[in-house]
Amino acid sequence: MSEIYGWTGEILRVDLSSGEISIVDTMKYVPDFIGGLGIASRIAWEELSPDIDAFDPENPLFIMVGPLTGTIASGAGRVEILGIAPQQHPPVFSRSGMGGHWGAELKYAGYDGVIVQGRAEMPVYLWIHDAQAEILDASNLWGRGTYGTTKALRAIHGSNTRVISCGQAGEHLSRIAVIQTETGNAAGQGGFGGVMGSKKLKAIAVRGTMGVKVARPQEFFDLSINAGRESQWPSGFRRRRRWDARGVQTDRDGNILRRRKCGFCVSPCGYRIRENVQATDGSSIPSVAQHCWGYMGNSQTVDPVARAITSDYGLNGWEITYGMIPWLQMCKQHGLIDKVDSVDIPVPDDPIEYMRDTEPYSSEFIHTLLRKMAFREGELGDALADGTCYAADRLFSGEGIPFLDRIYPRHCGQTAHWAGHWGPGGAVYWPWWLPPVLQWCTDTRDPASDSTHQWTEHVQPYMPESGPHRGPFSLEKVSAICARVYGNPDILNPAFEYDPPELKAIPAIWHSHRAMIVDSLILCDREHSRVFSMKSEDGAADTALMSKLLSVCTGYDVSERELDRAGERIWNQLRAIDVRNFGRGRAIDESTIDGFMYPGKDDGVMLDRGKFLTLLDKYYELSGWSLANGCPTRAKLEELGLGDVADELERMGKLT
């Protein structure tokens, strides 16, 4: 076999029921499906039978890395996790990603991914090291949090061991259990920690010393070192200086704060970690001080112990903060509930319309809530452990269901985020939240993991105006760049709202396809794919950057056009799984609109359902999807080399 660059060439497949460990050949799937999410989507299409549930042993848990993982390409520390996601309402095949150091370590250990199927009889963990994998007994880890699990596995396998694990929440099959690594990174959305728990898989410990081979080292080096200089938001320079000046800090309680970043990234993004926070049991633990979510406050005012406990239990803090607690407060305002155990649920005086209207709460409240969920204590803890959407179905005779309307686009079971409505996150102003809403309608999860992030990070901050925000570029400059990138100069022109509809459909599709590439290479959505640049003369980013990085790293010459086509192929492959296995179609896409039928949080603009449907029609038309049922057409699938997908969908009567 000729030398393989970028990829390692092997994906590990582990069947916990039989104890069998085998290898899937990565090279069967590349470059058509790139790696990471792309390869997982193809294998899932080939293997996923129609009637399995998220907690079924046969639900395949894909933990994937890509050809660029662990390399010098900035943002190359990420992992992509796929499977049938229990948090989704109802469960569908979906994805979640995380940064940190685990992904690169898996690559250095010789694998492009791990596929876990089956269910072990007794708790186990996987130990993967330099092209070897073992299933080992985890009886003495079961019942521990993610912190304790990580420490115990490092004691056994060495301090350089990288660990992902589920906490007590995952063991108790919580639908909002995360897969945690270290203290600061987790695959949060989707409930994949619960999938680990259902397989009796406590952790995966990895240590690798093998490195990633590069086809054209000098070119890869030159390209990345220049691309690294590009790693700024328009406001990024100020942010970077502030960091440099501070270094180590001390918070008001005397805890030391240290700076941290995900592995293998040079962007100015990052977080802080508090050392030696006093846990409730008297021990001393580290706690992440600032990521993008917090418990009702900024990095200095949040309860650091609550943050640490959330990660240790392996719970989805995002869901709890921005969905569950606001919903509980609304339920209390309507007399459905008063306390959690003996602790009052704090409520504001006025009705809650947006996330910003909610009431801060005490440490005692959040600690109690977390404990009840992690251990499924009582009826309330048992219900809330499944996330707010499932809890609402079960609690208060369903009377809390109407309060979900503002928070959750129901089908995905995750809080509305970065599409101009509920909150939280950066402001997205009318009409710029129309493309993100289109992305919400067509995705299986909160698309902020990859698609809408691109819009908010790489597009809106550069525009001359969006709401009160003033970006650095003139409309003339923006239009010239839009003409080149999207093929239409008016994409970002504020003079246009719903009409013509392609002005919103084109960028929604473009960024979704690019998101698939980012998740397959795997890079970070906060680094890629850029549209604008503060470094280039004309203000345009090098949109061919990802294809260049892939080409010089792997030696496969993939043009920008071919890579975009691969992104489209993966997006359609995922859509086909959703259509075939989960009845996805126009009706579900349209039902997502209900989650946005109230005035935008920053601009008060109301979505016009009738006009929005013209955008959705245009989205389908430009995607090559059927206007009638939202299924990819045969012509489109064949154009993407997915003729077998078309055949199977036709047999099911899905092609119109």
Partner: protein, 172 residues
């Protein structure tokens, strides 16, 4: 305790070498992204692999304190250099005329490991490593002395934690 990187005053007949510049790290500024490791290993070894990087970052979130970063200190009295020179007629550790870097010429390295055994920082700080081919080839930081832009780790560090100090600016 004796500082072995300082001159041993009892040794009179060893001439003072040209002083070297050095990589200095402020560990409190380190973001633990480990970009330095992969850039270093790609530049020098042609692959992305922290295990063959000449600068090594190690940290554990569960152990308080700054990360520990190991990189050659380019000693005024380099034990590695003397160990190699005393063992071989044609030593593999050379002095770069511009930066003063004590560097290993991989074409000349015979893999004896005398440098690594002599280094006062080893093995607690893994500043000298080796690749296992037909024989071992040792490597350590050479200040990227063949690179016009200077050390790559300094250039790439997003936390500005790594600095290059030229010989003339080094404290005594």
């Amino acid at each position: 305790m004796t500082d072995l990187t300082e001159k041993d005053e009892t040794v009179e007949n060893i001439p003072q070498l040209q002083r070297s510049g050095v990589i200095e790290v402020d560990e409190d500024l380190c973001l633990t992204c480990r970009e330095c490791e992969v850039f270093c290993s790609l530049y020098h070894e042609g692959e992305c692999n922290p295990n063959v990087s000449r600068i090594r970052v190690s940290y554990d979130d569960f152990v308080p304190g700054p990360p520990s970063i190991a990189v050659c200190k380019q000693c005024d009295w380099p034990a590695c250099y003397y160990a190699c020179a005393s063992r071989w007629d044609e030593p593999a550790i050379l002095i770069d005329k511009v930066t003063g870097a004590r560097y290993i010429d991989s074409g000349k390295c015979r893999g004896c490991g005398a440098c690594a055994r002599a280094c006062p920082l080893m093995p607690d700080q893994p500043v000298i490593g080796f690749r296992q081919g037909r024989r071992r080839i040792y490597f350590k930081c050479d200040l990227c002395h063949d690179r016009a832009e200077g050390p790559v780790c300094v250039q790439i560090c997003p936390g500005n934690a790594i600095r290059f100090i030229p010989a003339e600016e080094r404290s005594k």
